[in-house]
Subunit: 479 residues, 2 copies
């Protein structure tokens, strides 16, 4: 072979460091087992149940009729000629196509997205919050992930010999740790208060900020609400305290609000950061904020279409111009993904032909998720050594569990984190694929894993039953 | 207002520096004029003709029936029930859906893309080159742009107090300069030989490399073939010389081959770098190579669907694992964009129901582009002070023009580059929007602009006629 020009020794070291556990070694192993199963190899189970990723359709959730009609009509406008497609779908598709170059979803859109879709997003936000939004503040992107990357990139600067730092919750969604590692931005961990339903403690925020100041210039604060992987929903009061904290320390606020439609617990409600900042009045209502939203979650779960947006408010106009310029070389996000986002923010209205079916399908998904949220938390709480907060929102549970000393020692002997060891055993013995807490972060010495609540009810019951058997045997083996 | 937390003084300076001229100030001004026209404001023209960007559908090119049928069927599988969709489209859509989680394009794919589509890409490459490709080497992405960014990111490392450097052609497609600026990688300019049909001169490559070694560690070499913005098609001999040069200097080769279907000139042919490296035998056939392809160009022009891929061959397996990991946090590219890529690499075959229409539509686009390529070069060559190479491939002409001294002085007085000044005058007086050569790079003291050949024939003739009048008046004014 010719000498390699790129090796681990001379390549970008940040890419070597970064980890994204949701698609890490456990999930790679799950894929291998699936191939082995197909090839006829025998396991103690007949299928892998992928509870590692919030991938609704992959777990059998059926796409909403309205979404797919709009997308098919935008892709193949002559489908609108006959009666195949309801009138309200046609009018939506036509209004999107009017906003596309050459009336084709095959034309590039503006880098920030198709203008009419950005306007629909702004209307949706205005209605949701009772506070007017401007379409110029909305940037459509390849899922919410791309927006998160673009905004974090703004904060990436070395100054006075120190990197920027961004505060992220622990546990967190590893998009944040992966992107910060890639950029070389310092990850400032603040621990969520597990005993207090995963709330943000201002004392803990102050502690982590003060500690981080020695090694970085803290610039941003990420909050995920509803929580991933925690399943928590923040109270209005808690959000207010966080806003005050960010103001006091001049931190740029990033609110990951992609699960805003996923609220299950009695008494819980989604409060957007922008609404609460507005209600708090000046100076809080003038603070900069980036809020992220996606077509991948909620009741629609259209992950593969890659629709998402960020709304950035109160940005310095010069900085906003740079942000817009910085995304321009990527040209634009998928226009059909933008169409999916349009469906989320501009759904059928009462009286329109698609309304009844839309509501029926949407409600069915959300009702079922609510049941599954309860079932998952209740079941885990019945396991020896488990403690699971309620799944108030989002699509995940993040139970804490204790492990016998013998298991911890065997894991360490194998060079594995104890929760990784447990989760790998679970996969090899039951086919159930979840992600160890070490991939999201946890208080040192505690063990967790993240599971989605997405398998359909029957499969979820089966999964929990396999899980229970496994746990029982595991505990006996290492007792 | 609250004090801003992010200002030009404390944000990522790379984002302030980076420029992407294809969507720069000229194009922003074109958008303003379009809005003014709509609002009834009077200009010397009735429409803006956007020849600034390779956006086929925006210029009126009609999507291919086959592509849109496959995409609509994947988005709304019940469309396949009746006779609406031909059998070969159905079988393609079904095979893609079989490869999607939950048989839905709404599920995330693997980060590298849907496996069956990656296999189709590998088969396409194998057939094209007569050299077997492996699907494991293929990564699907959001257009080719995202792949270019991912691969350049591998090379981004500071060593011995110097940044990496990547060689790019001048003139170049500004995705490269923008991404290198964003990453802080040093841009090593090598000038293409305009007098020699924009060929790569090895002497010039040696010169630019030697000069750059003082300030960076050269690591990569980008070649765009067919050329953007040059419209050139490289000869087999020239590619061989470039491969030898890259081998000699241990440079990672990046071949931007997104225009491989766009070849017009008699005697010109597309030769992939991988085929030529293979034919050269060891050690060249063992060299690392990244080759980029897109669904946005060619005869399909499906820019808005954001399909693309990179094939990386001979990569160190450990480096390849890091590359795959580095894209995993972005989850995946649009699955419908991946479907568009599938259509490109797996088009209808002779005897299949969609074949005749597909060939008819494809041929019509390519024949018309060939005529327009000739027309554009011929017309510019008839202008006073213009010199335009033939448009042998791709979608652009990049003519050189001279300007009267008076015009150069007036431009400088206005703080504008002379070619920017000329192009802005063109826009304000005729509505024709092209991009100044300074956005792509050019030999200092020379002036160029890039125009696409994409306006439909009649509009293109009109555009060239307006252009001719403008040029005549401009030359008289500043004589």
């Amino acid at each position: 072979m010719a000498g390699r020009t790129v090796t681990l020794d001379n390549m970008n070291p940040h890419l070597i460091t970064m980890e994204y556990a949701v698609r890490g070694p456990i999930v790679i192993r799950a894929g291998e087992i699936e191939k082995d199963l197909k090839a006829g190899k025998k396991f103690n189970f007949t299928e892998v149940i992928r509870a590692n990723i919030g991938d609704c359709h992959a777990m059998g959730q059926v796409p909403l009729t309205f979404f797919r009609q709009v997308i098919a009509a935008c892709a193949k406008p002559d489908l609108m000629k006959g009666d195949l497609i309801p009138a309200d779908v046609k009018s939506r598709a036509q209004s999107i196509l009017e906003g596309c170059g050459g009336k084709s979803v095959g034309a590039y859109s503006d880098s920030a997205g198709v203008e009419i879709i950005r306007k629909h997003v702004a209307e949706y936000i205005s209605q949701r919050d009772g506070v007017n939004a401007k379409y110029e503040d909305v940037l459509l992107s390849t899922g919410a992930s791309e927006s998160v990357r673009s905004v974090l990139n703004l904060l990436n600067v070395h100054k006075d010999g120190k990197p920027s730092g961004v505060m992220i919750p622990i546990p967190q969604y590893p998009l944040y740790s992966a992107t910060l590692a890639e950029y070389g931005v310092y990850q400032i961990n603040y621990y969520l208060d597990e005993e207090n339903d995963w709330a943000l403690s201002i004392k803990e925020l102050e502690r982590s900020l003060n500690e981080a100041k020695k090694v970085c210039n803290p610039r941003g604060l990420v909050v995920i609400n509803p929580g991933n992987p925690t399943g928590a929903v923040l109270t209005e009061q808690n959000i207010k305290e966080v806003v005050e904290f960010a103001y006091k320390h001049k931190l740029f606020l990033m609110a990951d609000e992609v699960y805003q439609h996923n609220i299950y617990a009695e008494g819980a409600a989604f409060h957007s950061f922008r609404k609460i900042m507005h209600n708090m009045g000046p100076p809080y209502s003038d603070m900069e904020l980036a809020s992220f939203m996606s077509a991948s979650k909620g009741y629609m779960g259209e992950c593969g279409l890659r629709g998402g947006y960020v709304e950035v408010i109160n940005l310095d106009p010069a900085v906003k111009r740079v942000l817009l310029k910085s995304v321009s070389a990527k040209l634009c996000s998928s226009v059909l993904g933008q169409c999916a986002m349009d469906c989320v923010v501009n759904p059928p209205k009462p009286g329109e032909p698609s309304y009844d079916l839309f509501i029926k399908e949407k409600t069915a998904v959300l009702d079922s998720l609510k049941k599954r949220a309860q079932l998952v938390a209740d079941t885990f709480n019945s396991f020896e050594g488990f403690r699971c907060n309620r799944v108030a929102g989002a699509m995940y549970a993040f139970p804490k569990f204790t492990l016998p000393q013998k298991a911890i020692e065997e894991a360490k002997a194998a060079g594995q984190a104890p929760d990784f060891f447990y989760v790998m055993q679970l996969l090899e013995n039951t086919g159930v694929c979840v992600v160890p807490g070490s991939g999201f972060g946890q208080v040192p010495g505690t063990y967790h894993f993240r599971t989605t609540i997405l398998p359909p009810l029957e499969k979820l019951q089966l999964m929990l039953s396999h899980f229970k058997d496994f746990h029982h045997k595991f505990m006996n083996k290492y007792k």
